[in-house]
Amino acid sequence: MTITFLIHQSKAFWRSKNTGKSVIMRVVMAILILYILLNVLVVAFFLDRILKKTHPGQDILYSFNSYILYYFLMDLLLRFQMQELPTLSVRPYLHLRIKKNQLINYLSLTSLWTTFNLTPILLSLPLLIKVVLPEHGLAQFWSLLISIVGLTLSNHFFSQWIKRKVNLNAIWMLIFFGTLILSLSLDFYFKLFSISAVSGGLFNTVVANPLYCLIFLLLALLVYIVNYRYLRINLYLEELHTADTTHKSSTEIPYLNRFGKAGDLVANELKLILRNKRPRSVITMSLLFMFYGLIFYTNPSFSGYSGIVFCGMFMTGIFIINYGQFMFSWQSAHFDGILVSKVSAIDFFRSKFLLFTFFSSLCFILTIPYVYFGWKVLIVHFIMLIWNLGVNTLLVLYFANKNYRRIDLSKGATFNWEGVGASQWILSIPLLLAPFIIYYPLNLLGYPEAGLAFIALIGLVFMISREFWLNKLVKGFQEKRYLIAEGFRNK
């Protein structure tokens, strides 16, 4: 049965309409993962020397042991952020003559195939071979290895379980992070207890009594069973597809109706952003970007304007970049409806400009506190706001006319490659380079201020001539709309 499921899943992958793109993405991801694993291997190989340097005079094995629990705490955190739940959609199988535990076993087993399960073993194996095997013996080698595998598996199934819990009820996320932060702060801040001492003691005991390693295997088994039972109870349609049952109210955004039809469209799009998971996470990421300046401006080596130009463009334009790069795909689910309704293309585009202006101005306001690092920061931010509104909005919308990829709004944004295509990559080139092409030559000649003024001027020119570009965009849209609509119909 498991094999049948695997075949089905590979068919789903290869026969999907976006196969070509997904394959490229997988290859890119694979190369990235290989690179990370290579780094891990290098660290692992020199781990004994590193530990000798950082903890001189201490037994290497003890230093190693004292870090194991820290590692698995961080591992848990990373898994929680990045590991994906297995994606076989169980819906078409639930009513067939397939036992539930076959489905669950499949979900559990295939989930094991992840880099997170490989790194702890890769990281510890060289040290185990180089230090433990010759100095302590074969039994100790195996007992430590089995303990680490057991902890890896426990972490694996624990993170799956907690993620599913969080999907149903976000309070579990608070509990999870709360416990984690509490234990770490008790260790580092209050120094009530030391995780490293616990870890060192624990694994030294394992080394002394190799059979104790079975405890960790038992732990893994226990967590597996908890996860299994949880899935077993919750393998029902309504619980897997959580339509949360709280009352939805109709909201009005009053100020916007001053802008006519474009304003109504913006009101709709704001609701789109607030009521769907993926655009909401884009907004959260954009807000986090407001701290971007802290990295650069606190660093004294960034004294020139170019750092501010860069930061300013990102901070005031992050919404245009992050949200705009997937433009129109956000509305892919009801694009047919937009095309047949009495929304003219020009209003449609005006609403996008309005939305961009709203969010970019908001970002500019949020970055005003950076004036602490000098007035010039604020001025450059303002110039970059003009640039973003003048140039980058047009750029993003120009590429939006070439984007035919459907997006499912209900999925999260991290590691979600849906909707990512060539146009996003090509778009990033002019987006990142254009202001510097203007600024750098003048900067090199010794007129950085003139460079800034030139950026502002070009931004203004494009803002003033917006109607002209708008008509061009609408023309392009009219030509491409069939292709866009067809692409969006492909689920």
């Binding site: 339509a243 009352h247 939805k248 109210s249 109709s250 909201t251 039809k261 109504d264 709709n268 609701k271 789109l272 009521r275 769907n276 689910a333 009801h334 694009f335 047919d336 409806g337 095309l339 047949v340 309704s341 009495k342 929304v343 003219s344 709004l409 069939y482 609509a485 067809e486 119909r489």
Partner: protein, 233 residues
């Protein structure tokens, strides 16, 4: 009202729609029938300018739908859930659609009670987004949104498919009433021959992209259609 000439569409070498000529007069109630794959939805999509025809054109009020957008002012349509903005509540959606046709919120609200029987208490003030409604209830939202637009042309693709029997009967009566009172041109596709012959004055039977029968409905039409479909099988 609507004129089609030489309309053709192919997918992978297979002709899905091929209509040399079709004229639909103002106020006609058209039923579109045909087995799956006969090309009904593709025809609808070309009439709504959602798909570019390989050749030919669809004229609405003498204007090509692909070139002028004037048809949007008087055409309301519901083909599938892709027409609904699913993260809005039904009320918000109705207000938005009404707003596009210059109706204030209050105006829309005053029209909604007329649908209360059709909605059967399952749509309004339920505190749900459209995406959380059942397919049948989504159809109800789509159909009601069409009627709010006070259209002159109404196009519905299988509106009876997902809704319950009582609502089917109500929908039939609604369509009959509006086409009689307001003289609306209506095009409805359906697999239910009873419903179509009851509501529509003229039946177009499609097979493999062609209109093979064009019948003015009379008391024998249902039999004629049933015969056609049973012979096929």
């Amino acid at each position: 009202m609507i004129g089609i000439s030489n309309l053709k569409k192919k997918y992978n070498g297979v002709t899905v729609v091929n209509i040399p000529e079709l004229i639909i007069k103002r106020g006609e109630t058209i039923g579109l029938v045909g087995n799956n794959g006969a090309g009904k939805t593709t025809l609808f999509r070309m009439m709504l300018d959602l798909i570019r025809p390989d050749s030919g054109e669809v004229l609405s009020d003498e204007k090509n739908v692909a070139e002028s957008e004037a048809w949007k002012d008087y055409t309301a349509s519901y083909l599938d859930e892709g027409f609904l903005i699913d993260y809005l509540t039904p009320e918000e959606y109705f207000h938005f659609i009404g707003g596009l046709h210059n109706k204030s919120k209050a105006q829309v609200d005053s029209e909604l009670p007329a649908f209360s029987e059709f909605f059967n208490g399952e749509i309004l003030k339920k505190g749900k987004y459209i995406r959380d409604l059942s397919k049948g209830n989504q159809t109800k939202v789509g159909v009601a949104a069409c009627l709010i637009q006070d259209p002159q042309i109404l196009m519905l693709d299988e509106p009876f498919a997902n809704i319950d029997p009582s609502t089917q009967i109500r929908l039939k009566n609604m369509v009959k009433d509006i086409s009689r009172e307001k003289h609306i041109t209506t095009i409805i596709s359906s697999h239910d021959l009873n419903h179509v012959t009851e509501v529509c004055e003229r039946i177009l039977l499609m097979e493999k992209g062609k209109i093979i029968k064009d019948i003015a409905t009379n008391s024998n039409t249902l039999q004629e259609l049933e015969q056609y479909f049973s012979v096929l099988s």
